[in-house]
Symmetry: C2
Subunit: 302 residues, 2 copies
């Protein structure tokens, strides 16, 4: 690596951003992928699934952000052990880089699935999560990154070709459909990927600018079209649909979209926050947002 050497000596690094592509042929074009996971619990199944991904590891950088709580200390230990067993192994099997950030988010990570989803706690929780995502993004996104894959730390099963599959559509923002396995049954998990409705727009227009319109709560039906409900087990996995809101369980974003200023709003932005607000921001920046209703990833089942 003569370039890195040169940088070491003179401490000058020149990056021609026009040379960074994000294309349908990510692998052939040697496009660098940054996988980002905020992590409140370390699931060995998540790590095992990550190691099964077929995209070349020398093109993958991993970025984690974890809370500086006592839980965080345990996550750190587990995560570090997992990372080191790979990064101390054969060079050809190592990831290009791994960055672990420790940050005080003030979030309590000991919440159960039910507690997390209480409507009243969602606003604060997701606002803090948005803040953690932004901090992670700002610290880990490099000048040569082509794609950012947001992958929640409780996604325990994806196709091994996840990166190849999602980049091939060459979309600015693309989200997979996130389900849970309950025995033999497949149950929808992530309700953040949706198409807006007139009812939701009505509701939002009557809200204060500081309020948010959450999805998936029976007390406040929005009549948005939820991607989770459009899954067709026999349908084409390549089916695309345009979306207005997205979740982050497995979300592929062209790095350019973030670089242009699309982040995760921590405050109500068009009455949306976090990943749903991100989709709105991306749209305001004239990027297109899509989902794959028949392409599944699986969430841990508590």
């Amino acid at each position: 690596k003569p370039k890195a050497r040169k940088a070491d000596i003179n401490s000058i690094n020149v990056y021609d951003m026009n040379e960074i592509t994000a294309s349908a042929n990510a692998r052939e074009n040697k496009e660098e992928v940054l996988i980002l996971s905020p992590i409140a619990r370390f699931y060995p199944e998540y790590w095992k699934n990550l190691l099964k991904l077929s995209y070349p590891r020398n093109l993958i950088t991993l970025g984690f952000i974890l809370p500086s709580t006592r839980d965080g200390t345990k996550i750190h230990r587990d995560l570090r052990a997992a990372v080191q067993s790979v990064q101390k192994g054969p060079i050809s099997e190592r990831f290009a880089d791994v960055k672990i950030m420790i940050q005080d988010t003030g979030l309590s990570s000991g919440q159960s699935e039910k507690q997390r989803h209480e409507r009243e706690v969602q606003k604060e929780r997701r606002s803090k999560l948005a803040s953690a995502r932004n901090a992670l993004l700002f610290s880990a996104l490099g000048p040569k990154t082509s794609w950012v894959l947001w992958l929640d730390s409780d996604i325990i099963e994806t196709p091994p070709t996840l990166i190849e599959d999602m980049t091939q559509f060459n979309k600015d923002v693309l989200v997979a459909n996130c389900f849970q396995r309950k025995g033999e049954k497949l149950v929808p998990y992530d309700y953040n990927s949706w198409i807006d409705s007139n009812v939701a727009k009505e509701l939002a227009s009557k809200m204060s600018k500081d309020d948010i319109l959450l999805e998936g709560y029976i007390e406040l039906p929005t009549y948005r079209t939820l991607m989770a409900h459009l899954h067709d087990e026999n349908g084409d996995q390549k089916t695309l649909m345009r979306l207005d809101g997205v979740g982050t369980t497995a979300l592929m974003v062209k790095a350019e979209v973030h670089r242009d200023g699309a982040v995760f709003p921590t405050f109500p932005f068009y009455n949306l926050i976090e990943s749903e607000g991100f989709a709105k921001m991306a749209t305001r920046l004239n990027y297109e947002v899509f989902g794959l209703p028949n392409y599944l990833v699986f969430h841990y089942n508590e």
Copy 2:
């Protein structure tokens, strides 16, 4: 540097973000400062002034973004020569790091001061500039940065203690007052630092969400309180005022504010874009924005 060595071998980097301070004692606390300048023209006076700054260079990283036009090629040559003469010199005088990004903004940099300020061209121009600022920020902001100093490339004179002076107030966002020297006279230059007015709020409320309310145009008086007009030559340099809009000529921002998601909107955000939109975003994120009416920096005089 045993830490960097370790990273080289294992490619694991751990950053405890709680250890990064941004305090009134930046120098004593060895706080890292990132100086960011989008650059459409290289002024030797800018570089000379930069070299006079008294803050320790081993705590300073420089980040530049320049257009990939023919002008850009010339800027690159001049900038690189300037940077190399420092970075090849004695280690004790080198900057910690220098990053140069080259990006296609589609901006024509050959515009005169008068052309740039035509109201019709401002929206597109400033939107593209916002995009360049975000790209620069995303590529250059590291996990250990405490402060970001936005310094326009045509700022040719500041106090050498600029960084010490601006950090000592320990403000989230703080902007200096930017003037031009015309012979013996000091003339206000930057009208982007202001306190909002009821007239401006009225005007904005009647605008389409996609429109922007610019400052400094006689055809559309906003009656905002302009910091440029509050300069008092005999006043205390430490006088602070709270602001709603800021310019970027010399703007000190706690890195945390950016990491939390405050960027430069490229689309109308509360009818504001670029640096004025950034101030609004920071405020929405509950950060405080201040200006120093009697602390001057000087803009090149075409």
